[in-house]
Symmetry: C2
Subunit: 230 residues, 2 copies
DNA sequence: TCTGCCACAAAGATGCGACCTTTGTAACCC
DNA sequence: GGGTTACAAAGGTCGCATCTTTGTGGCAGA
């Protein structure tokens, strides 16, 4: 029997319920409820509670129980929270927020990459853009997505800023969520492919301003695709 | 006796040690060690482990123990991790990363605020800038810091983007860290005060571009103060 | 001697039930 | 009516027991 995933099972269930709004802010749970509902021991219930507490989804108060916190307190940068929200009803709003964040960070990260990327990172970047073009033109969306994620991950890491690097998972979730929820054209637009090439080229020629501009093209296009008011 | 902070006591201790590098990546702890070292029960040790695991500071593996993870896996957006790192040896590097992040996000957030701020938020923003000026010119750094934090918090929230809002704590930690670690002038520079006023004014007149420009002045000044190469 | 398989033990994962501490609340007294 | 007190509910901590996984060393065979 898969005895070991108990904690994460409960965590996933409750986490999804809270982020989806099934358990609204102010709702109260108790450890005992968790124990009975999932048939787990107090130990597991407590660990789950701690996890949820860390994610800002609830607070535990003596004599009261586990109180669900308002969404403004959630740790929205946590990949799990992002995944839950992208899977729930607030999907579009979440995608919009994340896209706006990307639009802010990625151009600056691209500029940083142009300054700090190591030679092998530049090579990798160029290789990925070539792969993206091939896969994109072939209409192999699944693999294109993977290459796209790799491109942005490489770029974020190349900037030598741990905060930017940490956004890799966020960007990956956004890209995957966009594809999964049918917000992508059946075939990547040539302009998008060109823009990715331009970013890689700017990084190779160590031109931060050009990298920033090229990345802005990508992000603003995505914003437009989401129907952002701008 | 304050019996209830056990969990957070252990968490703070181990978290600080890992982020400070006292416990390097690959170091191994066991639950039993934690129990003995802090005189706590297995329950508390386990909850602490889960917390640290969530923060990406370690992973637990059967038959091995609790293995410290490399810094690239840490959840560097978590306020606790940020605080620990700002208190440890990596302080300056951390401050630089965070500042670069702010430089990327805050101008865009300011533009968003100019688009979406509610009237009472505009009022609050103007009130805070006035307060900042008064406190700054009076040299009351402690209270100035609080007002500064409030200014940026208001602005980030006014943009109606939960991801930006979530960075409030990050910015607060940076500002507090800067003051605490003596990286602030004994009296805020007039240019900085003017720039804050300009941001608030741009938000009031609903001018996103002006807000973005004014905020860029603030962030690039801070970057310069940190000796960033740009 | 080298290779591969197996048994053992270490350490986490889960479960139980007990007792302690805090704190909301309602009954009670002035 | 207001303040005080006693009760109980729910989390906080503890210790121990059992189960499961998995690294490792030893033994056997080639």
């Amino acid at each position: 029997m898969a005895v070991e995933v108990l904690h994460s099972t409960v965590l996933e269930a409750i986490g999804a319920e809270i982020t989806a709004g099934v358990l609204p802010a102010g709702a109260v749970l108790t450890l005992e409820q968790l124990q009975h509902r999932f048939g787990v021991s107090r130990t597991v219930a407590r660990e789950t509670m701690r996890s949820l507490e860390q994610l800002g989804l609830l607070t535990s108060r003596r004599r009261v129980g586990l109180v669900v916190r308002p969404s403004s307190d959630w740790m929205v940068f946590d990949p799990r929270v992002i995944r839950w929200r992208l899977a729930g009803p607030g999907r579009l709003g979440q995608l919009r927020s994340l896209t706006e964040l990307r639009a802010a960070v990625e151009p600056v990260a691209a500029a940083a990459a142009a300054r700090h990327a190591a030679p092998d990172e530049v090579d990798a970047l160029l290789a990925v853009t070539a792969r993206m073009r091939a896969l994109g033109e072939a209409g192999r969306l699944e693999e294109f997505l993977a290459a796209d994620v790799e491109f942005h991950a490489l770029l974020l890491r190349a900037g030598r800023n741990e905060m930017f690097s940490a956004l890799t998972e966020v960007v990956a979730e956004v890209l995957a969520g966009r594809t999964r929820h049918g917000l992508m054209p059946s075939r990547p637009r040539p302009e998008a492919l060109d823009a990715h090439d331009a970013v890689a080229a700017a990084v190779r020629s160590r031109d931060p301003e050009a990298a920033e501009r090229a990345m802005t093209v990508i992000t603003s296009e995505i914003r437009a695709a989401l129907g952002d008011l701008h």
